[in-house]
């Protein structure tokens, strides 16, 4: 019995230290990526290509999800507001929810599961089939040529996707609220414009999505680069990317919200 407890504690301690060790390695890797980013900015076509795979191919899911989230917000929001006679504030509810929270967070989660996992799988496979080693032997730094472009493509794509999500969501809320249910169109937009502040709400939302973009893409490229060069290794890394990114987004969201919107 005693040895079982000791084993358990040893296991836990081992896992904790290896997690810290991994975090340290990941941080050094991020630094390495940033230091080697010169090449991909000079040859922007490298980043452009990755923006296509990470951003453009995520467009459909972002736009459709944004529309549906906005529509649901319209429905649920109306249902609650109408009880207090404030249904004209529907625009405010939809816009603030999206711009401040749902836009960056949900778009981030979708990006992590679609683009993040794809990046991890691609880099992991390149590692497993020795493509990264071959590149290194040809005196081309794989971090500069493969990793950095993907990292910056993610950081650039995320805020754009989050903005698109929020915009589609507002439109969805408008469709349901004004067109379907019959909330007054004028007060929908005017109250919204009164309540949503560019600096406090929209800019903060953009900052959030940039932070999420950095976090998700960092995790994605690191897991791919660190994956064991086998089939199980790559699939495990892909799963880890999605799970870790999602948790990171939610945790960062709480911290950023607490910092940005306290006392608002």
């Amino acid at each position: 019995m005693k040895t079982a407890v000791i084993d358990f504690l040893e296991n836990l301690g081992g896992r904790a230290t290896s997690s810290i060790h991994r975090l340290g390695f990941a941080s050094r890797f991020l630094l390495l990526t940033l230091q080697n980013s010169g090449m991909c900015f000079r040859r922007f076509s490298l980043i452009a290509r990755e923006i296509y795979f990470a951003g453009v191919l995520s467009l459909i899911i972002i736009l459709v999800s944004g529309l549906f989230v906005g529509m649901v917000l319209g429905l649920q929001g109306y249902d609650t507001l109408v009880r207090y006679g404030s249904s004209s504030a529907l625009g405010v509810l939809v816009a603030l929810s999206l711009v401040r929270e749902l836009g960056p967070v949900v778009a981030g989660l979708l990006f992590a599961s679609r683009a993040g996992s794809a990046i991890t799988a691609e880099i992991g496979l390149m590692k497993a089939t020795e493509q990264l080693a071959a590149m290194e032997m040809m005196a081309v730094d794989p971090v500069a040529r493969v990793i950095a472009p993907r990292f910056w493509a993610g950081v650039i794509s995320m805020p754009l996707l989050a903005a698109m999500f929020s915009a589609m969501g507002v439109f969805g809320g408008y469709l349901v609220g004004v067109r379907l249910i019959g909330v007054d169109e004028g007060s929908f937009w005017s109250q919204m414009q009164d309540a949503v502040d560019f600096k406090e709400d929209i800019l903060n939302g953009v900052i959030k999505s940039v932070v999420f973009g950095i976090a998700v893409t960092w995790i994605a490229v690191f897991e791919g680069y660190d994956a064991a060069p086998t089939a199980e290794g790559v699939s495990g890394a892909t799963t880890r990317t999605v799970v870790t990114s999602s948790l990171a987004i939610l945790a960062l969201d709480f911290m950023l919200t607490a910092f940005m919107f306290r006392g608002a």
Partner: protein
């Protein structure tokens, strides 16, 4: 480094040891490879052959001893010097390691575009020439996923010689190929080596192909060199390990049975 034709060694491995935390891979390996030769490094899987290639390429650093290429220690080079050295070396990885997101043409053109200022017309001519040398000029538009194993490896070979390297390393080039492809690769290795005036190192455990092809063989087992010589010398060697390896015998110094307890006891033991 002055070149004395008699002892012009392109690669010198000087009492090199290397290991990971879990195990020691190389224990005091020494060998020399003369310019212009095609040399094979043979042995069982796990004896350290591929690690040796990585040390020569500078991807790994020996814990003891020195690896010298053209007289200069690889481990002591600055980043720029290492880059310059790697441009003169080519390595063909097992299974090719072609970049899957670009066509065969772009794969071969990769090093030319990255490291030289050549115009696209010039690159075009060179790429087609390299692919012609391996017999795959017609396939230049294909993507790596559309190639068979043998074809992929040949395109990778064209990529390896893109900048006319003076040292070409092959990591298990014959693995998983049909007899025709094996013969093709073997002949290409010899032909390219002589045409480029280069030196080639082949890491393999394919006895038949290697002995047909190479000028000299180094035999490794368990992290040390246990035999070396010309193919003929090795074929007629009476060292037990070499003999078993060359003739593919089932049992000998390399045991058939994985270490286990007594057979009779295992059979008659009652299940717990």
């Amino acid at each position: 480094m002055p070149t004395n034709p008699a002892t012009d060694n392109v690669v010198e491995v000087d009492k090199v040891s290397f290991g990971y935390d879990s195990r020691q891979v190389l224990r005091g390996v020494s060998l020399a490879i003369r310019r212009g030769q095609v040399v094979a490094i043979m042995g069982l899987s796990g004896c350290g052959k591929t690690t040796l290639l990585r040390l020569i390429g500078g991807a790994l650093r020996p814990s003891q001893g020195e690896v010298r290429v053209e007289g200069r220690a690889v481990a002591g080079l600055t980043h720029e010097e290492r880059v310059a050295l790697r441009r003169k070396m080519g390595m063909l990885f097992q299974f090719g390691a072609l970049f899957t997101d670009m066509s065969c043409y772009d794969n071969v053109a990769f090093q030319m575009r990255e490291h030289t200022d050549m115009s696209e017309e010039l690159i075009d001519d060179l790429v087609l020439m390299k692919l012609q040398a391996v017999g795959l000029r017609g396939a230049h538009r294909l993507m790596p996923s559309e190639l068979s194993g043998g074809m992929a490896r040949r395109v990778a070979l064209a990529r390896t010689i893109a900048l006319d390297p003076m040292l070409i390393m092959y990591d298990e080039p014959f693995t998983g190929l049909d007899p025709v492809s094996m013969g093709v690769i073997g002949q290409l290795i010899r032909r390219l080596n002589d045409a480029l005036g280069a030196t080639s190192i082949i890491v393999t455990h394919d006895v038949a192909e290697a002995l047909k092809l190479v000028d000299y063989v180094h035999f490794m087992s368990d992290g040390v060199i246990i035999a070396q010589g010309t193919p003929e010398e090795l074929r007629t060697s009476d060292k037990p390990y070499v003999h078993q390896f060359v003739h593919g015998q089932m049992d000998g110094p390399i045991p058939f049975h994985y270490p286990a307890t007594d057979y009779a006891r295992d059979l008659y033991a009652t299940d717990a």
